[in-house]
Amino acid sequence: MMAEQLFWFFAGTAIAGALLVVILRNPIASAFSLIVTMLSLASIFFMLQAHFIGAVQILVYAGAVMVLFLFVIMLLNLGHRETDLKRAPAWFVAVILAGVLASQLVPLSGYSRERMALEYSHSASLAEPAIVFDSTMNAAGLNPVRATQERGVPGDIAMPLFQQYLVPFELTSILLLAAIVGAVVLAKPRI
């Protein structure tokens, strides 16, 4: 199946980019491999029917945030350091902690919709996920595929964003204002 092969290709590039972020010594090379990871994730978002999120991922993450990172790296003229990795004891702790985390996270990924419906509905017998999830999802207009068919690509996410989550959306603007003021105050040598 074509889509599945494409998914595994982009998953491979995402993991390779993430490993290069950790391994490479030069921060600029790390930043570029992080861009590779973000672009692969954007294409995976497109595959998962989240077109708007994929576009925003490219614009905001790969565009704005990473340009900010590269700007700061070049402004500070980093990239000539040899001793960037921690010494051996820290490596042992890191390997053990990451191993424990992975051994707990990866089994969680054995996702089954039936089991989730069973836990969600609190019933003893096996619940039908179509009844548990799809009816409420369709009534609220939250089914991703149907929402995109009915309201178009930005419209599918715009309706829950501006109806159900309007107050958090407005609070985000306060957060952004605080971040702007905070960044200016922190970065200025003399206020």
Binding site: A3, E4, F7, W8, A11, A18, V22, P27, S30, A31, L34, T37, M38, L41, F45, M47, L48, A50, I53, Q57, Y61, A64, L68, F69, V72, L75, L76, L78, T83, D84, K86, V95, L97, L105, V106, L108, S109, Y111, R113, P129, F133, M137, A140, L142, N143, P144, D156, I157, L161, Y165, T172, L175, L176, A179, I180, G182, A183, V184, L186, A187
Partner: protein, 99 residues
């Protein structure tokens, strides 16, 4: 709902790599990039599960991206201040609060 399980595996792997990077590196900017990597992994989880459980997951991804952008701006300003003070961004030097 294809690809939900593989996406969750991928996001678990990416999150673990991010944690590993935070623990192993000393350069503040690279640590920061690993934090962004972890946020991206969580975004992938949200998007994958939004296929089965409704569009609210994608709205949450939108909010996570906003918070990440704000965090990047403030964090990089803090790193600039640290660099101005210590002439490096090595976090081994920043141990003023250590007892």
């Amino acid at each position: 709902m294809p690809l939900v399980g593989p996406s969750l595996v991928l996001s678990a792997i990416l999150f673990t790599i991010g944690v590993f990077g935070v623990l192993v590196r000393r350069n503040a900017i690279v640590i920061f990039m690993c934090v962004e990597l972890m946020l991206n992994a969580v975004n992938l989880t949200f998007v994958a599960l939004s296929q089965a459980h409704g569009l609210s997951g994608q709205v949450f991804v939108f909010f996570v991206m906003t918070v990440a952008a704000a965090e990047a701006a403030v964090g990089l300003a803090i790193i600039l201040a640290i660099f101005r003070h210590h002439k490096s961004v090595d976090l081994q030097n920043v141990n003023l609060l250590r007892g």
